[in-house]
């Protein structure tokens, strides 16, 4: 329960906090994106909050909102055992310029988290030392977790084989490919007409 923590931030940054809520122990602060890093630095350095750990940093795409993206960061204090979530809304409607300051120089774990966020959602973290794709390949065009990325669009790194019917996926139809190999052998039970293993019927006496 870190409602006191929310009040602490509100007192120190009266202009930065747009909203806050605390439901079932989930304490959230919605910030102006300009004060994103200042509040994060305060939360790390102030002994009353002492946020030693950046648990997660990601973003959410709300295509109907303006600003469109919401960057979310979760913090945890190992010494005090409390948590806090920060949010900041950034980005225009078409997703061209989505920028927020990096937290890499405050928490080392922010490096890869921000790279992932850039890779999949296209949020640019200004000041990041090495902002490139981390999961996808450099040839990939676009950001797949954006809501306007087509769900069925794939960008193969390797050209698919030039075979007829390559777009089909296995298992194929019952009349295609090879028949079940074991049924071509005749080492089944004697008198078994339906194949080597046969349709075993479970009777009540078996159970």
């Amino acid at each position: 329960m870190s409602v006191a923590l929310i009040e602490l931030v509100k007192i120190n940054f009266p202009d930065a906090v747009l909203a806050s809520h605390s439901q079932l122990g989930d304490d959230t602060l919605v910030l102006k994106p300009e004060s994103w890093k200042a509040v994060a630095r305060f939360l790390r350095d102030d002994p009353r909050s002492d946020m030693t750990m950046l648990i997660d940093l990601t973003a959410v795409d709300y295509p109907d909102r303006e600003p469109r993206f919401e960057v979310v960061a979760h913090f945890y204090s190992l010494s005090r055992g409390h948590r806090l979530r920060l949010k900041a809304a950034v980005g225009d409607r078409d997703g061209e310029t989505v920028e927020i300051e990096t937290l890499t120089d405050l928490w080392g774990s922010a490096n890869w988290l921000e790279r992932e966020c850039y890779d999949l959602l296209g949020v640019t973290f200004t000041g990041h030392p090495d902002l490139r794709r981390i999961l996808l390949y450099p040839e990939f065009d676009g950001h797949p977790l954006r809501k306007d990325y087509p769900a069925e669009k794939i960008q193969p790194l390797l050209q698919y084989r030039d075979e007829p019917g390559i777009e089909k996926v296995a298992p194929f139809g019952v009349d295609e490919g090879m028949a079940f190999g074991r049924q071509t052998h005749k080492y089944g039970i004697a008198g078994d007409e339906d194949g080597p293993l046969g349709p075993k019927v479970i009777t009540p006496a078996d159970n």
Binding site: L135, L136, Y137, P144, Y149, A151, E152, K153, I154, Q155, P156, L157, L158, Y160, R161, I166, V169, A170, P171, F172, V174, G177, M178, F180, G181, R182, Q183, T184, H185, D194, G195, L197, P199, K200, V201, I202, D206, N207
Partner: protein
């Protein structure tokens, strides 16, 4: 030599204690190949657990001559693709395949390697046959060890007959041939268990 006699046109001379067998060279070669499949496990995902189960003593696919793992593709005959292949891994998988010496076979282990499974998205390859030719598909998420052994025997069957058409491990009871029976019967009869 019973297997050799059963699957080729060899003749064992009667009335002799030792005797001799005649066979075709291709049949003998295929017989040797199918029981010495050096494998290269390309294990990427959770199906690897089931792969370990099949290779461990309870199921033990070394009974089928597919024992020796070779982690260099240049020394292996059978490429086990065990798990999901993402687009980023596709060039690696293709390079591994191209490094293998002929003759070589590929087994797609599990639904993801066979068809991509439910990973119908931007990241995953919808089946390794989009990248490399595949000989046997073993569907299942993950497949039961019995299905894997079925796939291995299906591959051996194909090798013996020189058949390169794709083979798919179907359920133990083929619904086409026996449409009224249940697809999968997991329950065993109590009489088949050892006495407690």
């Amino acid at each position: 030599m019973g297997e050799l006699k059963a699957t080729t046109t060899s003749i064992l001379e009667p009335g002799q204690t030792s005797g001799f067998a005649t066979t075709k060279f291709e049949a003998l070669l295929a017989w040797a190949q199918k029981y010495s499949l050096f494998m290269n496990p390309f294990v990427t995902a959770c199906c690897g657990m089931e792969f370990m189960a099949v290779s461990s003593p309870r199921y033990d696919f070394s009974r089928f001559g597919s024992e020796a793992p070779r982690f260099s593709p240049r020394q292996s005959d059978l490429l086990w693709v065990v798990g999901t292949i993402v687009q980023r891994q596709a060039p690696i998988l293709k390079r591994i395949y191209e490094q293998m010496a002929e003759p070589k076979w590929v087994l797609a282990f599990g639904t993801c390697a066979s068809s991509g499974g439910f990973y119908d998205n931007y990241a995953c390859v919808a089946g390794i046959d989009k990248i490399i030719p595949c000989d046997v598909y073993v569907p299942g998420c993950p497949p039961r060890p019995e299905a894997v052994l079925d796939g291995l025997m299906l591959l051996q069957d194909k090798i013996q007959r020189g058949d390169r058409t794709p083979g798919i491990v179907k359920p133990r009871i083929d619904p086409v041939q026996a449409p009224d029976t249940a697809l999968v019967q997991l329950r065993r009869s109590r009489s088949s268990r050892p006495p407690v």
